[in-house]
Symmetry: C2
Subunit: 120 residues, 2 copies
Amino acid sequence: MQPFGCILVFLAMKRDIFQAIADPTRRAIIALIALQAMTPNAIAENFHTTRQAVSKHLRILTECELVRQEQKGREIYYSLEIEKMKEIDEWLEQYRKIWETRYEQLDEMLATIKKQKEEN
Amino acid sequence: MQPFGCILVFLAMKRDIFQAIADPTRRAIIALIALQAMTPNAIAENFHTTRQAVSKHLRILTECELVRQEQKGREIYYSLEIEKMKEIDEWLEQYRKIWETRYEQLDEMLATIKKQKEEN
DNA sequence: ACCTTACGAAACCATTCGGTTGCACTTGAC
DNA sequence: GTCAAGTGCAACCGAATGGTTTCGTAAGGT
């Protein structure tokens, strides 16, 4: 067990992105700030929770680098780190391969059926 | 509040697929059974947990229809419902659009820079 | 200077989660 | 019929989660 490896992993993986998008409120926040940066107060106006609760969600999203913050005076603008979303896409890739293969098999099967029909 | 509406929603949305894939063990189970159906015992052999813990995970995965079960004698084979994975893909689609747009903008910018260079 | 605004952090709480242990049920082998 | 194997379910437990309330702090308006 290499201690440095553990520390590095710990620093790199503060939070799990899949756990971050598990919460519906956090997914809604992501959708909100996807197109334009917003302050915590502005975000909180869209939910039936307190600003502090939103702040906690933003902290979690920031910890897994899904969200970027930019201070402007006393306001902090949060925006989506769209690059990070690709990680989910990359994870999905292995399964996309599977369902695409299924489709090809289905196409082949349908082609075979059609052929048989034509022969009769 | 319509009681029937509530019941229907409850029946339809037993579990959230995003919450299902949030747990790393469940993601590992999904990866395991993606290619071939497996029994709970066989799945559990791959983890440092009890069979019952795996059983609970399988229950959660089944509840959100990510996993299908097929009884064969006293064994139950679990396999991945690949179609359900598309739901994640569909959710990602809106963000894929954003990052693809970003790429196009980047390409345009690079093209402009190149052009300016050539003009000088 | 003083007050308001915008925000994060800490303390606290009820609920959920992931895990274990123990038990009940069904199926197949003898 | 009896026993072992394969499984799900309930009860329990510690830890994590999502929320609120309270407080501290820094920036802007007057």
